[in-house]
Amino acid sequence: MIPKFDYLRPKTTEELVGLMAEYGEDAKLLAGGTDLLVLMRDKLIRPRYVIDLKGIGELRGLSWDEKRGLRIGATATLNELLESEVVKERFSVLWSAVGVLADPTLRNRATLVGNICNASPAADTAPALLVLDAEVEVAGKDGERIIPIRDFFTGVKRTSLKPGEFVRAVRIPNPPEGAKGGYYKWGRTRGEDLAVVGVAALVANSGRRIMRVALSSVFKTPLRVFEVEKIFEGEGPLGEQIERAVSVVREKIAPITDVRGGKEYRLHMAGALTRRALEELLGGS
C-alpha cells in the first residue's frame, strides 16, 4: 500500500513555488510517478504532500528551433520524445536512450526530467544528455538559474537542486554539424532491464573532430569521460584512437558489484560497449 498523502495539483509555476516553500521537505513532486510511487510503496519515503506537476501548462511538451535547440518540459513523457521526428533526426543519441528505457507502458508515464531528478547512476537518459551538453532549467523561490548537466548529478540519488527548487525543463543545444550518436545499453536479458552498463557516444568528423563518451551504472553518478575527447582531436589510425579511448574509459570509471552485475564484468562491458559504439559510429569515416 502507498502511505496516505495529500494530493495537490497547482496550475501555475507560481503556485507550485508557493506550495514548495510552504511544505518544504514534507512535499514531493510528481511527474510520471514511475520512481516516486515505487519508493512510496516500499515506504522508503513517506511524503505528506504530493504535488502533481501535470496541471501546469507551461511544463508540458517539447519545442525546438534552429537556433536554440530542443527544450523538454518537466512533464513531457518519454514516449513523446520517442515519437518526435526532431528528436529522432537531430538528437539520435537521446532518442536511442529513450527507446531502451523501461518498456512502452512505462514510457507512457515516465518523463525525462523525472529520470534525471531521480538521479540514479543507472539513469538511461543521463549519458545522452551529458554528451549533448544539455542544460537544466531550474526555478524556485529565489528565481531561475541554469545548471549544466555535467554539474547536475552530485551522488547516488543526489542532485545540485536546492530546497525549494524544481526543474522546469531540460534544454539541449543543437549538436555539432554532422554529429552521430547512440546509446549502447547492456542488461541481463534482451527484455526490459536496468542498465548493467550503458554507454552514450557522440561523434562528428566534419570540420571538427569530436568524440564524446558518457556512461551509466559505472560510477556514483552518470559520468562523462572528458579525457577521451582529446584523443580524437589528434592524428593517428582510428583503431588505435578507439583502443586508447577504451582504456581511458576503463581507467576513469569505478563500478561496484551488486545484484545486477559484478565490478569486473562492468569494467569489461564498459570497454566493450565503448569500442562497439565508437567503431559503429566512426566506422565509415
Binding site: 536479458t189 534482451r190 527484455g191 536496468l194 545484484v259
Partner: protein
Amino acid sequence: MKYSYVGKEISRIDACEKVTGTALYTADMKLQGMLYTRLLKSPHAHARILKIDTSEAEKLPGVRAILTGEEIPHQFGIYMTDKYMLAREKVRHVGEPVVAVAADTEEIAEQAVELIKVEYEELPAVFDPCEALKTDAPLVHENLHEYLHAPFVFPKPHTNIANHFKLRKGDVERGFKGADVIVENEFNQPMVQNVQMETHASIGQWLPSGQINVWSSAQSPFAVRHLLSVGLGVPIHKINVQVPYVGGGFGGKAGLHWEPLVVLLSKKAGGRPVKLVMTREEEFNTAAVRQGMHARIKTGVKRDGKIVAGEIEYIWDSGAYADYGVNIGRAAGYSCSGPYEIPNVKCDSLTVYTNHPYGTAYRGFGHVEFHWAIERQMDLVARAIGMDPVEFRLKNAALPGCITVTGEKLREDCGRVDECIKAVAKELRWGKKKPERKGTKVRGIGIAALWKAPAMPPYTSSSAIVKLNEDGTATLSISLIEMGQGTATAFAQMVAEGLQIPVEKVKVVSRQETDYAPYSWQTVASRGAFMDGNAVLRAIEDARGQIKETAAELLGVSKDKLTLADGKVLAEGRPEKGLPLGTIATCGILPSGSGIKGPILGYGYYTAEGLTGLDPETGQGLPALMWTFGAQGAEVEVDTETGEVRVLKVVTALDLGKALNPLLVRGQIYGGVVQGLGTTFSEEFIFNEKGVLLNNNLTDYKIFRAPDIPDEFVPILIENPKHNAPYGARGIGEHPTISIGPAVANAIYDATGVDLYDLPMSREKVWLELKRAEGRK
C-alpha cells in the same frame, strides 16, 4: 481412426472470457463485510521469538482480528506436517509470517502491522544444504521426530534431513569395477520462483454455525478441503472450497497454502470473510519457491558406450519447511537415472532443511533440476569415451522391455525416447558441418532427453459428471482447475466426440466447488488429461448408455442398434426415426404423454492402476502411472566478448501418445520452453550472508519477456498411443520445461568448448567461464 472433434485445432473455450477481462479470479472477488489481511514477517533467517506486543495495533480503529502463532497451534501439511500458519517459538526464514491482522481495509491492516513490536533473539542459521548435513549444523526443526508424515517419507530425527530417499538397483560396486571409464561431476542450481501472474489469493469464512467457506487460487480444491479438515479438526461436509479461474499455478498453488490462515482470522473476527492477496514481494519471501539443488553424479561406462553403473546424490535445499519438498526429493529419486537403462544404480536423494524460504512444487517437480545434472553428465561421459552424444543416448535409451531404476519393466506402449532423440537430432541437422565463426560470435547445438511420470501417491483418483440438457447441449463437471493448461478445452472436445454434438454445445464448468463438483485429487503432476480424461470418457460412456436406454424404449429397437450422430440418437437403417438428444435429456416421452426413465447424468471415475509403494531401503516398486518421454535441442549463438547467449532455435519432441488438440499442445510447449529458458539464463534467488533475499521483485529477478524468446520454436508431436489412456494421450504439461537447461548448456559447449555446471547461465557467468577457460589455455 477418424475423429470429428478430438485431435482438432480448436481455440481455447475460455479464450473470450480471458481476453475480455471478464474471467473471474479469486483476487477479483469482494464479499459483503469482507476484511483484508496484512502480515508481519520475520526480518531474521533464524531467531527465537521472545515477545510479541500487539497492544497498539489492537487499539487502531478498523482492526478486527489479530493472530499470532501462539493462538493457532494447528499443523498443516500434505506429506510432512512441519508447518504452522504463523511462526511459533521461532522463525525459520526471512519473510516468514509472525503476526496476521485482518481489518476493514488493506491500509488499516498495514498500519496495524507497523504498530506491532516483536523481540527476537537471533540464532545461528544454515543456508547451504550440504552444510546443513554436518553434525554440528544448527537444527531448523528440533522436533522433527514428532511430526506426522506420509508413510513413504523418511525423515532423520535430530538432523536437518526431512526425507532420505534411497534407491539401490543391482550391484553398484561390481558395476564400477566392470567400467572402462568413470566420470564424476557436480552440478548446482539455485532456488527460483513460480512467478504466477496471479499471486496467491484466498478468502476464508468460518461462520458461527460451524460452516467454513473458502475461495482460493488453489490448484486442488479437494486437497485444500481435506487438509483443512485434518488440520482444523472440522468435519469435511462443513467445508466448501470454491476455486474460480487460477491465474497460473505451475505447482506453486498445489496442496494447501494460506487458506487456513484466512479461515482462522475469520473465526476470530466473528465470521466475516477475510481475504489475503500476496504482494509480489511476498511471493518471493513468504509464499513457497522451487528448491535449490546440489547434485553429484558418478557414472561408470564401457568403451562401447554402455553405462554399467551410476552413483547419484541429489541434495535439495528445501528451505525452512519441506511439506512438498519431501515428495520432490522422492520423485527425483525414483526417476534419478533420466530416460536410460542402467543395470546398477545407487541413489540418495536428500531433502534438507535450511533457513531459506521453503520449497514447493514447480512445473517439473524435481525433474528440471535433476535433468540439469543427468543430461549434462550424459554429454560429459560421451565425450570421455569419444562417442557422439546422440549415439551415446540412443545406446542407453530406456526402451520398451528395459528395466527402470525401480525395477519396472517398461511396457510396449510406454512411448519411445529414441524416436524423440532422433527427431530432435534431425531437426538440428546433427552431425552436419558447424557454421563458421562470425567475429566474436560462435554457434553450437546441443541435445538432452527427458522423462517424467506423475509424482503422486500410488492410489489417487478422479471423477467426472456429464449432464445432458433439454436443448441437446451438455455440461461437464470436473474438478480439474483451468490455470492455463487448456485441459478443459480438450475435455469439451471429448464430450463433443462422445455425444456427437458440436464443441460449441459443450460447457465445461470453470468454477469448481467441492459441495457440488465430482472429486479429483489435485490438478498437478501432468495427470489431468490422462486421469481426469479417463474419468470423463467413462462419464460420457455412462451418459451414452442412459441415452440409448431411453431411446430404445421410445423407438422400440434394441439398444445395440442405436448410434449417436448429428445431435441425435439414430436407429440403424432408419435415419428418419432419429430422436434429437434434447428431447430425452430430462426423460423420454411416450406418444401417450407419459414419461419414462429420467435425466441423463453420466458419471465416471478413474483410479491410478497398478502402482505400488516403494521399498524403503531399495526404492524398488512401481511408482509411475505413465512415463512421458521426450527430447529437447537448442541451437545457440554465443558472443564470446560479452557472454550473451542467443537462442536461435529450440526443438522439443514429446511422445505424447495423442495430441488431443495440437494447437493447445504447441501452446503448452511454447510456454514451457520459455519458462525453462528463464531458469536457464536469468532466474535465481540472490541472498546476502544473513539469508535476506536481495531480488524479491521483478526488477531484479529476471523472468523472460517477449524480446528474450528464441527466434524459432519447433514442436514435434510423436504419437505412439498409450493403452488405457484417453485416445492414447499422455500428460505433457510439465515436460517442455524439463531439459531446456542441459540442451542449452550442451550447445554452449559445442559452440565454445566451455562447460557450465551451475545454473543460471547468465551473461556474466558465461563471460567469466569463457575468460577462465582462456586463462587455462
